[in-house]
């Protein structure tokens, strides 16, 4: 039973509360940042300039319109000791509070190779500052320049870059896209290594990196064992153009590419290479074949395109993953890593004139072609592992595997497991029919 005084008090309290709420409702000023006071950052480019961090934020600036979306995109720059400082500068410059909740892309410029990436991006991991779903990639040249490039589509640059890192491309082994969470989880695992896609800009109409699988195959023999070490920015850039030159078809593009030149012409983006990091420090770049192998191993591939040569003909096979993974065993005190890949293949193209009768047999692939494809995959795996060993960067997660499944031997083997590693390949490529 409610005492009378309480009943009366609750009625009075109710009215006071209502008046208070109405006051709040109509004055509507809570010192909070609402939709009209904030800018929506869709992508962030990070460049390091000595001790300072330079941030280029790509903003979506909505314009008044009653008939639908009317948005302009702009790049705003800010700098400071930390990213938060730089964002604060953007706030001061624009008068809008920059919100990172819709930031779906973080692009690290080449200059970030000199710094620990978790020092650079620390702010993204702070409590509720942003979500860990943003894609992370490293780019050639300055991130600011890349975000300012003009693309062939009308979309903002960051959207086009994100498309190059999309899930669809990931599932076709054309990009090993990762988000903030993935790189942190990998880096803070026992392996202490992570990787992210390396984005390159190609002039529209040219294809620096070959453009499709057929050309990638041609480059295979020249595949590098990863650019380990702490190369300077310019050194890396020349390195990547050298690789591109290996493709033999678009060598011209890369040399002139980058920076200012591309700003004026329309470009396309690819992310077929992968930057690797050890304990947050840059450790090299995997070429396209190595990246392809990494994608096959780590991602759920729906349809990857694999070129191979057999019986004097060049084949392009479409691969559908049936199973992949790696297993670490300790055999006679030696760590033995089995890289397993099983896929169903279908002929996507043969470099010879098409004969109508033959196309019906695309699902039946002859054993020599399958063997050549297996060999091709094996070579790529091998190249990838070699890159890992050469850079002493466990981006495959071997140490983590060792800890998970052979934890008793972890302390004993953890320091030189990569060097002692014995690799087995279990590669099966089967014809669809």
């Amino acid at each position: 039973m409610k005492p009378d005084v309480l009943r009366r008090f609750s009625v009075v309290f109710f009215w006071i509360l209502l008046i208070f709420l109405a006051g709040l409702f109509f004055t509507n000023d809570f010192g909070l940042i609402d939709i009209s006071k904030s800018t929506i950052i869709t992508a962030v480019g990070i460049d390091s300039d000595g001790e300072e961090v330079q941030i280029t934020a790509q903003l979506a600036v909505p314009k008044p319109s009653q008939s639908g979306e009317n948005v302009e995109y702009a790049e705003v720059q800010g700098s400071g000791k930390t990213i938060a400082d730089a964002l604060n500068e953007i706030n001061a410059k624009t008068g809008f509070y920059p919100k990172l909740h819709f930031c779906k892309l973080i692009l690290l410029g080449e200059s970030c190779r000199q710094k620990n990436i978790f020092q650079m991006m620390g702010c993204f991991y702070r409590k509720n500052y942003s979500e860990l779903t943003a894609l992370v990639a490293m780019c050639e040249g300055k991130a600011a320049d890349m975000l300012a490039m003009k693309t062939s589509s009308s979309d903002m640059t960051s959207s086009v870059i994100r498309r190059a890192l999309s899930d669809e491309l990931k599932k076709s082994a054309n990009a090993s896209s990762v988000d903030l969470k993935d790189i942190a989880v990998d880096n803070f695992s026992k392996s202490g290594a992570c990787h992210m896609p390396y984005v390159e800009a190609n002039l529209q109409g040219t294809s620096e990196n070959g453009g499709n699988g057929d050309n990638v195959g041609g480059e295979n023999a020249g595949g590098q064992g990863g650019q380990s070490g702490q190369d300077g920015g310019s050194g890396e850039r020349s390195g990547s153009s050298g690789e591109s030159g290996g493709s033999g078809e678009s060598g011209g593009g890369s040399g002139e590419s980058g920076g200012q030149g591309k700003n004026e012409q329309k470009v396309e983006f690819t992310a077929r290479k992968t930057a690797i990091f050890k304990d947050g420090e840059f450790a090299g770049i995997l070429d396209e074949q190595q990246s392809f192998a990494l994608d096959l191993l780590k991602n759920e591939i729906r349809l990857a395109v694999l070129p191979c040569d057999s019986e004097g003909l060049h084949y392009t096979l479409g691969l559908k993953l049936a199973g992949s993974g790696m297993k670490l065993k300790i055999e006679d005190g030696v760590p033995s890593l089995t890289l397993r890949f099983k896929a169903f293949a279908q002929i996507a193209g043969i470099r010879k004139p098409v004969e109508p009768d033959e196309t019906s047999g695309d699902d039946d692939i002859s054993p020599p072609v399958l063997a050549a494809a297996e060999e091709e995959v094996k070579n790529r795996f091998q190249s990838m592992v070699e890159a890992s060993v050469a850079a002493d960067c466990d981006f495959l997660g071997v140490k983590e595997e060792l800890y998970k499944y052979n934890s008793d031997r972890y302390d004993e083997l953890k320091d030189d497991v990569l060097k002692k590693l014995r690799i087995n390949y279990d590669i099966q490529i089967l014809s669809v029919n």
């Binding site: 709420l21 109405a22 709040l24 409702f25 109509f26 509507n28 809570f30 909070l32 609402d34 939709i35 009209s36 904030s38 929506i40 869709t42 979506a60 909505p62 314009k63 008044p64 319109s65 009653q66 639908g68 979306e69 009317n70 948005v71 919100k99 909740h101 819709f102 779906k104």
Partner: protein, 478 residues
């Protein structure tokens, strides 16, 4: 002065109004009579048929017994108290005074003006009966009787209203209705002394334990089929003279989500419709609040592409998101109120003014954004999927909007939790408002959000604690 003049004089002394008429006639035998009745609500022709004609043969010396024998009215009462005569005349019946007798006869010739039975405007059904209650309690009782011919059906007549003396019928089925419930209802109605009861909503307040509550405590029915179904489930029905809306108690909120058509269509379809209704009510109540709190406090709630569209729309709007939504909702409520009250021919013009002038022009002028209008319009449509509950939900929408604009999404969550905490302990005549969900009554769940087929609804609602639990037996054991 004869006794006849004395009686008529006594009546006329109280009923001074000119529409209370006195019709004096003399039988062939010379006996004097006077019929007193209220014009307009009494069937004058029947006075001739049922009183004047039969009494033609009365002789001067015949006593009251002879008169009583000759009057063949199906509704016949006798009394000798002038008070009763006044009451009956006011009620529309005719009183026949006999010269030389202190006793008089009351003939049930009430015939108040009434409209024809039509389909109620707020409970239109595509399938199922289309009859609706009207303002005449007799007709309404008849509609009930027509459907429930059981001898256990009880229609208890009471009166309420100090001046209106309104007839109220308490309808229930003996043996099915929980014991003591009709008496409780009667007592609670009787406890309220009010001048006039123009509508059943007054009675609804009388029988609510918490009349100040936002949530009602009794259900309403405009259709006799719905009313009878509820009475057969064990509820007590209340018919009020002068009101086409009947009441039933105990009430559970889930009742408002059930329509008569649910029982006349396929149970799967009915279930889908009920789920849609429930979702619609939630959307209708919360959408404006969520929209405002998303804009003010948590823009992440809005998908990126939509956010860009909304941002474009709200750029340049001179009002803050909360005030913009408040004004849009206010316009809706004003239009709604005006469209109900205005004559139909003005209503059309009002729609044009409302939709075109206020809506389109306000958007074009950049005063209100397009999303705000879409949200309010959708919310309004959603709430009227459950019209019986709309009274509560439209009020709650205002409250949620104010909370969302002042405290944000957390305020909305706290208020929702508060409402749950409040509703779980509220009841209507011992039946919890949130039954069959809290407390969970397993059997009743088959007729809640889900509408099971007839064979699964063998028992009456357990939450009502009825006397006879079984309502359906199938001999084929389906």
């Amino acid at each position: 002065m004869t006794s006849l003049d004395k009686n008529v004089g006594a009546v006329k002394k109280v009923l001074t109004s000119e529409d209370v008429l006195v019709f004096e006639f003399i039988s062939a035998g010379g006996k004097k009579f006077a019929a007193v009745y209220a014009d307009d609500i009494c069937d004058k022709n029947m006075i001739g048929e049922l009183a004047v004609k039969p009494l033609r043969d009365v002789k001067k010396g015949d006593g009251f017994d002879k008169v009583r024998m000759l009057l063949a009215s199906p509704e016949f009462k006798e009394s000798n108290k002038i008070r009763d005569a006044i009451k009956e005349i006011s009620d529309g019946n005719a009183v026949v005074f006999v010269d030389g007798e202190s006793d008089f006869c009351i003939l049930g010739l009430k015939k108040p003006p009434a409209r024809a039975i039509t389909e109620p405007p707020t409970q239109i059904a595509v399938s199922g009966p289309r009859e609706g209650f009207i303002e005449d309690i007799k007709t309404n009782s008849g509609l009930v009787r027509k459907r429930i011919k059981s001898p256990a059906l009880q229609i208890k007549q009471i009166k309420s209203g100090k001046r209106s003396d309104t007839n109220i019928a308490i309808v229930y089925i003996e043996g099915v209705c929980p014991k003591g419930l009709p008496e409780r209802v009667e007592k609670e109605i009787a406890e309220n002394k009010i001048d006039i009861i123009p509508d059943s909503s007054y009675v609804s307040s009388f029988i609510s334990k918490r009349p100040r509550s936002l949530f009602k405590r009794c259900a309403s029915a405009e259709k006799p089929d719905v009313f009878c179904a509820k009475v057969c489930e064990g509820r007590v029905g209340i018919l009020v003279d002068g009101s086409p809306i009947a009441l039933t108690v105990p009430y559970m909120i889930v009742e408002d989500f059930q329509t008569s058509e649910d029982y006349y269509t396929n149970s799967y379809r009915a279930t889908v419709l009920r789920i849609i209704r429930a979702i619609s009510v939630l959307i209708g109540m919360f959408l404006p609040a969520i929209y405002v709190s998303a804009q003010l406090f948590k823009i992440q709630l809005i998908p990126f592409r939509l956010l860009l569209k909304i941002s474009s729309s709200v750029q340049g709007i001179p009002l803050s998101p909360s005030i913009e939504m408040f004004l849009t909702l206010l316009v809706l409520e004003v239009l709604n109120e005006a469209s109900i009250r205005m004559p139909k021919y003005v209503g059309l013009a009002l729609s044009v003014v409302g939709a075109l002038v206020l809506g389109d022009t306000a958007v074009k002028a950049g005063i209100i954004s397009t999303p705000a209008i879409i949200i309010i319009a959708f919310s309004a449509i959603c709430l009227y999927t459950v019209p019986d509950f709309a009274e509560t939900t439209t009020t709650l929408r205002w409250i949620f909007l104010i909370i969302a604009g002042s405290i944000g999404p957390f305020g909305v969550v706290v208020l929702s939790a508060f409402l749950i905490g409040y509703l779980v302990t509220e009841n209507s005549y011992g039946t919890p408002l949130l039954a069959p969900f809290a407390p969970l009554v397993k059997g009743d769940l088959y007729d809640s959000v889900v509408k099971a087929n007839m064979y699964s609804l063998k028992n009456r609602p357990g939450a009502l604690r009825v006397g006879d639990k079984v309502r359906f037996k199938n001999e084929n054991k389906r």
